[in-house]
Amino acid sequence: MTTIDKTASVPAPRDGATHDGPLLDVRDLHVEFRTREGVAKAVNGVSYSVNAGETLAVLGESGSGKSVTAQAIMGILDTPPGFVTKGEIVFRGQDMLKMSEEEHRKVRGSKIAMIFQDALSSLNPVLSVGYQLGEMFRVHQGLSKKEAKVKAIELMDRVKIPAAAARVNDYPHQFSGGMRQRIMIAMALALEPDLIIADEPTTALDVTVQAQVMDLLAELQREYNMGLILITHDLGVVADVADKIAVMYAGRIVEQAPVHEIYKRPAHPYTKGLLASIPRLDQKGQELYAIKGLPPNLLKIPSGCAFNPRCPKADDVCRTDVPALVPVTEQDGTDLPGRGSACHFWKETIHG
């Protein structure tokens, strides 16, 4: 399989930074929310890594912990109620959780940027977009107002906003949804970060605009050789742009694989169920496959495998033992690089 090599190989680090290994490496991250009702375990031991120029898609439903993980990486977790209780977030060889507040702020301002789902509420409605884009340069690079404005226009051109020079003084509400999302992307790009985290960047957009925005993001990523973490629930978007996928459920990664592999041969019943529940042409008029039951309540995650109450394969062992994320192999034991599954019955799921 040629596709596997893509994820296994590590591109050379950008601008000669002195670190080995991936750009971002999240190790055994635990996050919990201490609420009135009790402790909600939002993230329970998540590990993943992204290389420069690579796109990792984190797929999951609401409550799977996919956004919370991103918030922890960005250091924008609401504390309280949210607390990182364990784990490391290693960016270019440095654990960000051990950094001082000031160091952390510097990294997240210039090296890691985030794009949110709702561009309208992420932009300040009473400031012009030119001012907001220029702010990055004024604050981080100490440019003058005039210089910052020139830079802002440049950025707006970059993200293909038509007539950028004429629109630089417009306010966010004067732009359409797609254009606002481009402005968000421009803001994220302003300081040429090494990593972009995009949390459902196109969910609020129309289909025809979605395609434009995803294409733009992919193009810019190639150009700047950035790492991209794409958080989404849409299997279609993932298939279109991702290199590798991590599927999350109840705060854990349940499956991890290169993108082509996972659609062909899922190794976890949850992934399999998700793929099966997409309406397909040959199933017209029949019942859709549906995963039974509901996403778990994070205040009382089922014992053993969190998916066991909804799983068609569940056995006694699933109700008692938490399955670890183990490497997945071919039937004859050949390695499948980059693949892992947290299921006691992954062999049956992938080969059965």
Partner: protein, 316 residues
């Protein structure tokens, strides 16, 4: 489910679960109404108990002041002027040599009547104007908003002087009774309630469940009283409990200016405004009526809080 957990994608949204067996305890085999649920919640809320006891006490004092003191509040003797608290006069004497304790007790009735009645009247008028304007919109709203704004334009003092000047006793002296003060304060106080209510109603009116009721063929009154009102009244209750204290304070202002309740009639407002003028010669005549005022306002705010919480199923 608190707002924070919702926002942070932890989605602690399902305490039910289809597989979970229905919980056995406190299962009544009858459809309960929100009011019944709310009442069950209220009696278990310590904040409600405390505020209810306080309000019961205050109302008892207002209704039967004779039970709490046998001293005539108007039997003043200048030789006791500004004497501090003692065994015979627990709160001491004021400048005129009147017993502060007795005056505080006897002043309760007027203050509570002014506070409670004004708040209720403002609540009813403001609530009604707000609901009608917010719900029907268009010209109804334009008209009612216009009227509201006109009243907002009235300065409190000017309105009070104009209205209260017309109340005179049999000797032709300017002397406004309690009801005149209630009327005045209602006239200048209902508008903020109308604004709050209108805003809340306009927001709730947009909700899909109102559209759902309409598409079922629900009548206007059903939509208004079953769907819009219960979901928009919360801010009004909060504003009302807070304004209760402000009203008692405003009554004091009017007394201070000599156009409200006037001596020999007693109210906390009258006492506070009198004591304020002589604050340099002694603090106690000011302290005790103010203390009662604070406790009363606090009790009503706590009551409002408890009632609001009880009627919000999300907090259950």
């Amino acid at each position: 489910m608190s707002d924070t957990t919702q926002k942070t994608d932890t989605a602690v949204e399902d305490p039910v679960g289809p597989i979970a067996p229905a919980p056995a305890p406190d299962k009544q085999d009858k459809t309960r109404s929100l009011a019944q649920d709310a009442f069950r919640d209220l009696v278990r809320n310590p904040m409600f108990i405390v505020s209810a006891v306080l309000i019961f006490g205050i109302v008892s004092i207002a209704a039967f002041p004779g039970l709490f003191t046998s001293v005539d509040p108007l039997a003043c003797d200048l030789k006791h002027s500004m004497e501090g608290p003692s065994g015979s006069a627990w709160f001491g004497y004021n400048f005129q040599g009147c017993d502060v304790y007795s005056q505080t007790i006897h002043g309760t009735r007027n203050s509570v009547i002014v506070g409670v009645l004004t708040t209720i009247f403002s609540l009813v008028i403001g609530g009604l104007v707000g609901v009608l304007g917010g719900f029907f919109g268009k010209w109804t709203d334009a008209l009612l908003s216009f009227v509201t704004n006109v009243f907002f334009g009235l300065p409190l003092l000017l309105a009070a002087i104009v209205i209260l000047n017309n109340f005179r006793d049999d000797k032709g002296m300017r002397n406004a009774g309690v009801m005149a003060v209630v009327l005045t304060l209602t006239v200048v106080g209902w508008m903020s309630m109308a604004r709050v209510m209108r805003g809340a109603v306009m927001q709730v009116k947009q909700a899909d469940y109102v559209a759902a009721a309409r598409s079922l063929g629900a009548s206007t009154s059903r939509m208004m009283f079953r769907h819009v009102l219960p979901n928009s009244i919360t801010p009004l209750i909060v504003v009302a409990t807070i304004s209760l204290g402000a009203v008692i304070g405003a009554e004091a202002t009017l007394s201070f200016l000599g156009i409200g309740i006037r001596p020999p009639a007693i109210s906390w407002g009258v006492m506070i405004s009198e004591a304020q003028q002589r604050i340099s010669s002694g603090l106690h005549p000011l302290l005790f009526p103010s203390g009662m005022l604070t406790i009363t306002v606090l009790a009503f705010i706590m009551l409002g809080d408890a009632v609001r919480d009880a009627f919000d199923p999300k907090l259950r």
